[in-house]
Amino acid sequence: MPAISVDTLTKSYGQTLALSDLSFEVEEGEVFGFLGPNGAGKSTTINVLLDFIRPTAGHVDVLELDAQTHSREIRSRTGVLPEGVETYDRLTARQHLEFAIDSKGADDDPEKLLERVGLHDAIDKKAGGYSKGMSQRLMLAMALVGEPELLILDEPSTGLDPNGAREMREIVREESARGATVFFSSHIMEQVEAVCDRVGILRDGEMVAIDTVAGLRDSVGGGTSLRVTVDRIDDDALQAVRSLPDVGSATVEGQTPPTLIVQVDGSKTAVLSTLEDHGIEVQDFATREASLEDVFQSYTTDTGTGVEAR
């Protein structure tokens, strides 16, 4: 049973296409990481889920309800941490939570919620004096009001220090253990890989990959990232490297001197000899295990086009 079902969703602003035929599902009870660089369309998608904006085409169901016609019921069963939002300067943390509790008809204790997010000390201070991280904690606490079935967290780590980000992930795990579905967006792979069951990668309004964290790792060769510094590079050589059976992807980084980043799952010497066969001098090379960050990079940065420009 999907908690979120997005079906051929398109959103355009005049000539600009923010989302293009986006389709994916988030299963009930899973922690889903919605990953993509800034401007990929993550917030646009979340805005449609919450009926802040209306789709140009396509259909969205949340908790098996139409996101447009049943928005109030969806939001009564969902906790939301919106992105890029200012809290109410003149209200205290307690008043913010009382408002959320009142609005949802819940009976939570503001003090306990604020203790959970580590903001108990500032409970009666006005939010106007909060740092970005404190505001973020406050909004996380508001999202937790009423034990929601679904949590939608838009860039929840914004403004948090590493310690705060870790605490946030801890809360995501607790909520997931309680049985909640968690949908959270980020532009940093590190934030999602530790906690997500599945990850979807969005780029230019389209889903370019959707898999488990392990599956994603495998999909890009699973093995090693090879970094080769060369005196020059041309299209033929790059194509030859890409067509090697063990090579998952090859990208060019930097121009003086050019550096090749090659995801390779097997013989590295084949890559080096192919380059030399094309008359390219290898000046230096290094290898390292592919991280999820490389996976993210390979999906969200342009591959190959940099070379033709020369």
Partner: protein
Amino acid sequence: MSTDTATGSGETTAPSSSINLESVRAVAKKDFQDAVRSWMFWGLSVFFFVLLVAVTGTISYFGEEIAQQGATTEALVLFVSQITRLVIPLIALILGWKAIAGERETGSIKILLSLPHSRKDVLLGKLLGRSAVLSVSLIVGFALAAVVVAALLGSFDIVDYVALLVMAIIYGLAYTSIAVALSSITRSTTIAGAAMFGVFILFYIVWNAIQTVFQLLMNRGTIDGVSYTQEVPAADGTTQQMTMERLPDWVLFINTIDPGNAFQNAITVLSSSGSSELGTSFPEVWFANGVPFYLENWFSFIILLLWIVVPMAIALYRFDRVDL
């Protein structure tokens, strides 16, 4: 799973949201709390208190003749209504201009709408919250001043005093409705501010000019005036009938639409204050066949009611249909 099949998948739905009174109350309460914590609320209460006490003091000091006639509360209502007529729109527009546009600009409207409130709930809650700020400060100011006013004035007419308070609250509600409605049409507080300024110009300057323009048009014969006869005392002590011309009823009606005129006309219905000094007050001789119902003073209540309802109704319809 979906029960309602869309007529065409490419069609954009613009659903009409529902109104939930609990939600309206929650939003209004939050908005009121937010405002009460600002200097605005207490500043306003003190302002109304000082206004009433100052006017009363002036009347009791200079107005011995008025006091002898026992009409001091009437004089108070007259002076205070002239001042509040100009001041309340300013306050309401200042209180309301950021109501929606401000929350859209800072993004905090997403906090409101992440919670189970509809967009209509938010608009109505904002209207109630903001007008409550003005109303409660009016009540506080009037209540505190009542003691001083009653002590200073020879005769204190509670009905006139309360009538002025009630009408000031309704007048404030009308302008708050205009302000919140205009604030919801844009996400830029700059544009919202400009719209407030436009309203201010419209009713402080343009509306008065309209009457002058029609007067000129009538004198030039472009529009037909209405003739009426009036007895005018002649030089030899007798009276003589004179035929004169006035603006037609519909031009007079335009004059009564101004919320400020409606506010003062309505006061004359509720209180014993002289109708000749307040609002539009047309002479009886103008209407040989009786005053049309829409020019009677009670109709000003309908006009004020429409100023509350119409801007809000347009905003409620439109705000459901925009991307935030």
